[in-house]
């Protein structure tokens, strides 16, 4: 486990450096005995450790939504696209990491969503469709043992 966790940490550090994101994080679902809750397990460029304590139910939060729908999520401008009420109630990670623009991608294993990769900017830069594409290209459809479906990027 420690080896693979090192591997994930390295991967997201790399990704952040290569593409210039402010924050990159990785969420996984817990086992059935933990009620399938979703937690952010790795982060790069985090402001604090709040992400570690956040526990999401399926369908809640960015990771929860991506898990449930199996589709990526692109929010180019948080302030314009999400109402402040929703923002606070449903997306704690955006608040705690002060994200202003983000993309989240489902990671597949055997046609099931097993993880969520989140990349975002704080002030200034925004994630455009191009960035999104670039993110996919740089991952080459693969993230560790996970597959990234190209169809999700259209």
């Amino acid at each position: 486990m420690s080896q693979s966790s090192n591997q994930y940490q390295m991967k997201i550090d790399q990704l952040r450096e290569q593409l210039g994101y402010d924050f990159v994080s990785l969420a996984f679902a817990q086992s059935a005995s933990d009620g399938f809750v979703i937690t952010w397990q790795f982060a790069s460029g985090n402001l604090n450790n709040r992400y570690k304590r956040i526990v999401l139910q399926s369908g809640k939060g960015i990771a929860g939504l991506v898990f449930k729908t199996g589709k990526p999520m692109l929010v180019s401008n948080v302030k314009e696209e999400l109402s402040p009420q929703d923002l606070f109630n449903d997306y704690p990670i955006i608040i705690s990491e002060r994200l202003n623009s983000l993309a989240a991608i489902p990671l597949y294993q055997l046609d099931r969503v097993e993880g969520v990769l989140l990349a975002g900017f704080r002030e200034g830069k925004t994630v455009t469709k191009n960035n999104f594409r670039q993110l996919y290209d740089s991952l080459k459809g693969q993230f560790g043992d996970f597959r990234i479906k190209e169809s999700t990027f259209r």
């Binding site: 009620g35 709040r50 304590r53 956040i54 526990v55 139910q57 704690p92």
Partner: protein, 361 residues
Amino acid sequence: MIQPSAKVTTELLLKMYEKSSDAILFFDENNNVIAMNEAALSIIDPGMLTQIGSGESNSFCFTCRGYTSDDELMSCLNCYLSNSTKDFSSFQVFLETKDRGVIPYSANFQEIEVESGIRVLMLRDLTNQLLTQESLNRNTMMKSIIKAQEDERKRISRELHDSVAQEILSSLVDLRVLKYLNVQDDALQKIQQTEASLTRLLDQIRNLSVELRPASLDDLGLEAAFRSHFKWVQKNYGVIVHFTAELNGVRFNSEIETVVYRICQESLLNALKYADVDEVSVRLFESEQMLEMLVMDQGEGFNVNMRDPKGTGLGLYGMKERAELVNGELTITSEIGKGTTVHLQIPTGTASSNRKWQASE
């Protein structure tokens, strides 16, 4: 009755005309202003004054924005200047003032000389009165809204907890029984899936019920309700709440407990939203005849006096209103860069509230 001499009366009337804070204007039969006192001069725009001076008919209409009729807030229909049959001894009128914009006045319009058609308009600034009225209305309204919301939440939460959740629980038990019957493997698998999704549904309903209004608040009291709420906060927002409870399970009447719970919830929410902190501390304790709560963070803080809040600004207002519902006092101290403290004090009259609690047990 004292009969004042004519001389004294004229003198006094003149003084009143000059010094009065009510604006007094005289109109001739053509609705031209023929005289006005200092107070009127101080409110009416100089530009309008020249027009009034020019003797143009109905020039006062440039200043007047209409009066309040049965149908409209500001109306010119059947206006006091043109309609002499209607009673205008007391009405509300809006004027365009020199430097304060459109302001409501309480007005009185009377004919004082029938043959020459001279009439007098007296105006008294209504702004303060209206403001008082408005805030009184708002306060009453706020209180009933809070109460209605709380009652409704309680009802729905109870309903979810007592009937919906119970029904699901009994179906779950039935499903579990099914597993031990002689069923085929594929059926068994389906049953297990259904069991898992029902369990999740039950969880969600319970969460919903607790979010609406925790049953533990009524059944077990503030401390228990706080503990589960803080756990929830940590899970949802990753913020740790350090809770110091010094009540030792003392109970208060349900109204007070609700207020404390909601104010704590709101202050915490504010800290989570705006303070940008990892930790918040909450202390709940009793002092002489008082139930007190402190919610402290060491986050960004804000300027308490600034009337430009982040968010809607209704939160703080609602907290104060809630505190007032139980004669409590809410003090919010905050300094930019140093953090915020919310201090709530509610007089309990400890003895009586304890007795009430015991009686209801």
